[in-house]
Amino acid sequence: MHPFSYTRANEPQAAIAAVQSAGSEFIAGGTDILQLLKAGQRTPRRLIDINALPLASIEVDSTGARIGALARMSDVADHPGIVENFPAISQALLLSASAQLRNMASIGGNLLQRTRCTYFRDASFVACNKRRPGSGCAAIGGENRMHAILGGSDACVATHPSDLAVALVALEAIVRLLGPDGGRSVPIAEFHALPGHSPHIENVLRPGELIIGIDVPAAAHARRSHYLKVRDRTSYEFALTSAAVGLDIADGRVHGARIAMGGIGTKPWRLQAVEGALVGTRAGDALAWKAAADKLAVGARPLEKNAFKIELAKRTILRALGTVARAT
């Protein structure tokens, strides 16, 4: 690790003021930044510890959930109001990382974690446009089994690793930000950026801005939601494919559907074409639901080693839909 100094902030405004001096970065749970510091990928001059900020509360009422950015993954996963009203969020968190990491990692930091693309994480590879803009992408012609089939560019095909973000995209959460010029809210679907020509820019955060919380609106499809994660080993692994699905079912018909997927896109991927095809179908109509899931392939550009993800993603959606349809 390169040398850095350490400062603890007690108020959000003080943290935002402090982080504007050159070379300063926030640290919350620290689970990702410590890895990046040890790998020499981040070289801040100063870390601003934000863990003492009063941003760790979790409130759930009839309008929705308000989750403080410093709430820990494990606390959100176990919160009775989240479990009951937003099961996909709780399940996505419990299928993430390990129990130890979930006790440490913050909700805000989870949205900002960097990709697990091997070529990004291992600095001994020269080419990585995320790590060193303009250096190229080693994954496009390399070991790309884990990479994206949607949203990639000639510069980057890395997937976004967060499970939580996938559930939040499906449930149309709002990210609350505070910066030097005040506060603003960004829909989670617009928070992460496509790689395009600048894959090192991963979100819409402006310099000095801090995630202070995440709001999730209450909805029938949120109460009847589910997160399914498919991976190479049973636990403690990133997704090959994952699906957050929510259905509003009444009188045996689908009145509303929300679907987002992880493991297939360069950012958490909302599948509105699939949602649209599900609306009006009879709950559990295997043929209609398969036709709906087939729509996820539109625009997919598989790489040499990950074409299997198209079929796997369809089956992931269908299995998740089946679970939700049976839920009471």
């Binding site: 410590l34 070289t43 001059r45």
Partner: protein, 201 residues
């Protein structure tokens, strides 16, 4: 070699030698090393040492650390509490698991300076005098280890798991212990030890 050379002193000396060799190997294989060397060194202020008081196993410990020091390195290298093990040093193996304010965490991804004022419990803090903690005793009774390197992390994780109420069946124990890797593959006996401890708790 003197006869009173301790195992620890030997390991530390050997580790130093290995480190030198490993560094050479890394440079030789690292295709990016040349490119990195041509970049200008970053402009930065020298980091000053921070004086901390860490509460570990119920007692205060004063320690001077560079801000970069992880809790794991502070425990092992500065306070000589070497029961907590360093495996991957990247949060992937769980060998460094300790409790901070009663919650299990990876000490390798925790900066020491960030846990000042918190209650830290390490494997050295579980036993009461010569009486092992019930989970420690269960690992002995069920032969829940082979080489033993991951064991202190497994036990710290298991104690927390039982307190969390996540040891209701074998599948749940396996899922919620998945942050602790055992390269020897002693998992069946680890699960048996935890199942037994949870039943008695």
């Amino acid at each position: 070699m003197t006869t009173d050379l301790t195992r620890r002193a030997f390991v530390e000396t050997s580790g130093l030698a290995c480190g030198v060799v490993a560094a050479g190997v890394t440079l030789g294989l690292n295709s990016d090393a040349g490119a990195q060397a041509t970049e200008p060194p970053p402009d930065r202020e020298p980091a000053s040492e921070i004086v901390l008081t860490l509460r570990i196993n119920g007692a205060p410990h004063d320690v001077n650390v560079d801000p970069r020091t992880t809790l794991l390195d502070a425990l092992r290298e500065r306070l000589h509490l070497t029961g907590t093990k360093k495996g991957c040093d990247m949060g992937a193996c769980g060998a460094c698991t300790v409790h901070v304010d009663g919650r299990r965490v990876n000490a390798c991804l925790t900066l020491a300076v960030m846990v000042e004022g918190k209650e830290i419990t390490t494997i050295e803090g579980l036993a009461r005098g010569s009486e092992l903690h019930p989970v420690q005793q269960a690992f002995v009774d069920h032969d829940g280890f082979q080489c033993g390197y991951c064991t202190s992390g497994q036990i710290m994780s298991a104690v927390a798991l039982i307190a969390e109420g996540r040891a209701r069946n074998d599948a749940e124990i396996r899922e919620f212990m998945s942050g602790n890797i055992c390269r020897c593959g002693a998992y069946p006996n680890i699960v048996a030890a935890i199942r037994d401890s949870a039943r008695r708790a």
